[in-house]
Amino acid sequence: MHIPDGYLSPATCATLYAGCIPFWRMALGRVKKVMHSRQVPLLSLFAAFSFVIMMFNLPLPGGTTGHATGIGLATVVLGPWAAMLAVSVALVVQALFFGDGGVTAIGANCFNMAIAGSLVAYAVYRLLTGRSALASARRVVAAGLAGYVAINVSALLAAVEFGIQPLLYKDAAGAPLYCPYPLSIAIPAMMIGHLTIAGLAELAVSAGVVAFLQRSDLSLLRSTAGKVAEAAQTLPVGAARPLRALWAGLAALMVLTPLGILAAGSAWGEWMASDYANPAARGQIAAASFNHVAPQSAPLGLQRLSSVWTAPFARYAPPYIRGAAFGYLLSAMFGAGLIVLACLMLGRFTRSAARAGPEAP
């Protein structure tokens, strides 16, 4: 992930340096406005922390190991702008003093990991956490996924930067001057490792440390949680969460269900036994199956099992409802109602089990 010297052309490096400058300026401005001088030691120490945790190699499935970069964690704790600066500082120190990443590629590495990584991690984290409480499991999952997506977006950007080099820079003999691999090789080569090993390490560390902070010092998660989480935090345990938007979305989806009638034919493989005898349905089956003609009659097993259970809302069209649209709507209401009821019962059961508490040994 840390691009060394010699892999990117000076023009690409200069472009990415230039791309970093407005973000760095904006981040410095925002950080000064929000946290004033307190941010100076915080950024330094967080950069040092990011540097050190890169040395913690995690054993991963398959017998391999990987390490996290701390992008997701820095973003969750510091916010995207401060994280951008902290990770950039860590990358500069690594390139200058530890030979990890090239000095000409500092701009590229900062753009990919510190800037794009932090912004993506923040977007994913805020999107997934919503109004959840600071101590909720949802924040753990969100932090893990934020780190996972961020490192993969960073890797994709690096792969694209690698992949465009042979298109742009060749010597007189046709030999690529910088990274020799085109996009068709660079992208899969980078992404396979990051979607599996590096991404999993980032996911494990981001999620694990957020879970650790939930138990040890919840206040560290507050800066990126916004006022919403504060409100959620004050709700008593078991109180209804503000789910109005979710209920409205569910209602809108139910109202829109009759649109399903507009779709022609049936889903592949969801044919009924009677469809095999219907010429129009047989035509649809053949068209959807690369012109393989369906058998003249339904397979015996299908015939036998299809009559075992007759659903009350078969094909979302109850026989006692004349209007197809109304039948669709009624099916949606009935199905959604059943799911909500099951969830409520499960929630009540879980809460009563928790109240009873574990038995004494």
Binding site: P4, G6, L45, F97, V205
Partner: protein, 273 residues
Amino acid sequence: MSGVHPHKRRGLIENTLEGLHAAMERALYAEVSASRGGLLQRLDPRVKVAGLFSLVLAVALATKLWLIAAVLALAVVLACVSAIPLRVLASRAWIAALLFSGIIAAPALFLTPGTSLYGLPITMQGARTAGFLVLRAETAATLMLVLIYTTRWTHVLKALRIFRVPVVVVVILGMTCRYILLMLETAHEMFESRKSRTVNAMTPAEQRRLAVAGSGVLLGKTLHLSGEVYLAMQARGFRGEVFLLEDFQMGKLDWLALGAFAVLASASIWAGR
């Protein structure tokens, strides 16, 4: 801890301790090496930063392999006259760069389209592109190692001001360098104390839990320390403005070296077109 065989391969604790130890050793060696009496150690840090960075740029721009090799030879000569042993260059720059770039460059020998080289399944263009990749990485790594082994880290950072890097950024970088050593030591102590209490090999799940808990504890310590450092800064009168003492003085030797670097870098860029 678990039923895993105790003499199985090294685990997380050993690997992490080794990595932390290597980083600390590298940092301390740089400090010792920077205080030796070599040629580059006597130069103004701004001259070294400007001169060696311009050579890295010349290498990046070069389209001729012989020129990159010549700059690598120059970097080796500079290391020799600056009391940096060749074995240090080999172990800390060349082998690492060769392993990393070699693995990436090797498939290019076969995959790059072009004319076959001596009837082998590799192409001339592939060999050239692999050569560019490996030589550039080796040369840049050598030049940077020469810089950090002949200049105190704090001086390297102060010298970045010649590139108009804002003072606040230089101060943050300086503090980061200082606290990296402290963090490395803290992490080293954490893992060593755990190692002294571990009597059997740990399972991968236990190792993951240890790494995550270690990261969490280190994060907590980081933020706690940040608060303490800030209070100490305030106690010393820090009110948000940062200053940097510009105590570098250019002597005759520095001007001479600056001229030499300017000529060498310009000639390399011109010849490497």
